[in-house]
């Protein structure tokens, strides 16, 4: 009977961490721990002594984990950014999904694969949600600026909303810029004049 692998999930959002845990537990029997406090990251990892650490690719705390990979202290176990030279595709998929795995030296690829697969599926979903959220948020912000610019034009030139929008659009086309950029310039300049 093989020892259960110990996995540490580094994720400051408890809801996301719970979702990752669920996915991993569906993939197999593992001993899971989660680190949510990034200031305690290295101390927590030293205390748990995991076989695998999973972390969002773009989490700023990853750089602190890189220091652990040097394993300079005598009791530390060498850890490497996951790569099995025979399966570079898996690493690429993981990175595209936005997850990085740090793995202790010598862990067999067949024990690792179900874990990485489960993590990839979960992180792909996070990434998609995050992109959608960012797009929506940005569209809302841009809409607000464009509305303000339209309002300024309507007041200054005594025109209606459609005419104001057309004016913005024409200026953008003439200058080879986006409507939002022209609107932003107008709003910030108007701020100076008022």
């Amino acid at each position: 009977m093989q020892r259960r692998l110990k996995i540490t999930i580094v994720e400051s959002d408890p809801a996301r961490a719970a979702l990752i845990e669920q996915s991993l537990l569906r993939a197999g029997e593992y001993e899971l721990t989660t680190v949510t406090d990034m200031t305690r990251l290295t101390a927590s990892i030293a205390a748990h002594n995991p076989d695998i650490v999973l972390i969002d690719l773009d989490n700023p705390s990853r750089d602190a984990l890189e220091a652990l990979t040097l394993a300079s202290a005598p009791l530390e176990r060498p850890v490497a950014l996951f790569v099995d030279q025979s399966d570079a595709d898996l690493t690429r998929l993981a990175i595209e999904a936005g997850v990085s795995a740090y793995v202790v030296d010598g862990l067999r690829a067949d024990r690792l694969k179900p874990i990485i697969d489960a993590a990839i599926a979960r992180f792909s979903m996070f990434r998609q949600m995050r992109t959608e959220l960012a797009t929506t948020k940005r569209a809302l912000e841009e809409r607000k600026v464009i509305d303000r610019a339209k309002g300024l034009l309507m007041k200054a030139k005594g025109i209606d909303e459609d005419a104001a929008y057309n004016l913005l659009r024409r200026a953008a086309m003439d200058q080879g810029r986006k409507v939002i950029d022209v609107a932003e310039a107008l709003v910030s300049t108007a701020g100076l004049l008022s």
Binding site: T39, P60, R62, D63, A64, T91
Partner: protein
């Protein structure tokens, strides 16, 4: 028709050549359109380059060297094809260490690396704990050089640890760190939020030390396709543009934008002008040459020095580490490309020595 070029960066002052190349249209003039992707860790940028999510990225100068020595990352070898900036680092201390330094009579002249270093060693209670953004960084290398030159044995007397800059303020407040060495705007932000005071600019330890490079996969540097050459030319133009003081206000406005650094213009201006506010109570100091964007060409002696330092600390063979390190800095490629630019005037290459009189070339093979 221009080639679309995804390039990764971190929201730091020394991403300026990339941001300016994009905002001033120097990229499109060279037939490429920069698609700048903001990341939040150095390891993410390295992996994005290694696994092809971006073609190139801003990197800390020691990163391609560390990868060549097998110390960092899982992808293939990397190459530095241009220097984005030299210096621009700043060393700061916690409020507690600041108080002790003042009590011991240190004047915070922000200039004398010798005096500042000895004062810092004296003010520490036990081994100095200093935060840096990444294990393979000039921040770490400059600190090791500075403190060992002043007689502090490493690693016994100094604990240099990686703390992501967004967590640095909390670590200082919790007294887990005595000091830090970071790139701007993080130093000025620590002053702004009252968590630290600035002690010394990196330029006072070693003027002209390479700080950030443009990193690509080594095989891309070998074939040097035209879009890469175009990017290198665009970055050269951006560096020349940044060197003109009359462009500073515009540069600050560009960098502060919401797609880039998202910090106030005024804080960015401190680094670009070299007029830094060093304490939360508003003391200021001027540093000529605080950060420089015009020493574009990767220098072999810089790579050799970094490789030798890393090898010595990690217990690797120094001669082979030095050779591997030098192969990552593509001096010839860069020189060839910029010398072919019409109107290119080579800038005099500064012959910079460290505060204790060391020379980067000293580690070159005979």
């Amino acid at each position: 028709m221009t080639t679309h070029l995804p390039v990764g960066f971190l929201p730091l002052i020394d991403a300026a050549p990339l941001i300016v190349a994009r905002e001033m249209g120097f990229d499109r003039a060279e037939g490429v359109t920069l698609d700048l992707r903001r990341a939040h860790s150095w390891s993410a940028l390295r992996d994005m380059v290694s696994f092809g999510q971006v073609m190139a990225a801003q990197m800390l100068a020691p990163m391609p060297v560390a990868t060549a020595l097998g110390l960092s990352g899982a992808g293939g070898p990397l190459a530095a094809v241009a220097v984005l900036s030299t210096n621009g680092e700043v060393i700061g201390v916690s409020r507690r260490i600041e108080e002790r330094l003042r009590a011991n009579g240190h004047g915070f002249d922000f200039h004398d690396a010798h005096a500042a270093g000895l004062a810092l060693i004296a003010a520490a209670n036990g081994p100095l704990r200093i935060g840096v953004p990444f294990p393979f960084s000039m921040h770490a290398e400059l600190l090791y050089h500075w403190l060992t030159a002043l007689g502090l044995p490493a690693p016994a007397g100094v604990d240099i640890r990686t703390v992501p800059p967004p967590l640095m303020a909390a670590a200082l407040a919790a007294e887990e760190l005595d000091a830090f060495c970071v790139g701007e705007p993080w130093g000025s932000m620590a002053v702004e939020n009252g968590s630290g005071a600035l002690l010394l600019p990196g330029a006072a330890i070693w003027p002209g030390a390479p700080e950030k490079v443009l990193g690509v996969r080594a095989d891309l540097a070998d074939t040097a396709p035209e879009p890469l050459c175009g990017l290198i030319r665009a970055l050269w133009r951006a560096g020349e543009w940044l060197a003109d003081p009359s462009h500073r206000t515009s540069a600050c406005a560009m960098l502060s934008g919401r797609d880039y650094l998202e910090v106030p213009d005024e804080v960015i201006d401190r680094a670009l002008s070299g007029h830094l506010t060093i304490t939360p109570r508003g003391d200021s100091r001027s540093v000529p040459g605080f950060v420089d964007f015009t020493r574009y060409t990767p220098q072999p002696q810089h790579a050799a020095w970094i490789g030798t330092q890393l090898a010595a600390r990690m217990g690797l063979d120094r001669a082979s580490a030095r050779a591997a390190a030098m192969a990552t800095f593509r001096t010839d490629l860069h020189s060839q490309i910029v010398h072919a630019i019409p109107g290119h005037q080579p800038r005099p290459s500064g012959f910079a020595r460290s505060f204790d009189g060391q020379d980067f070339s000293a580690v070159l093979p005979e």
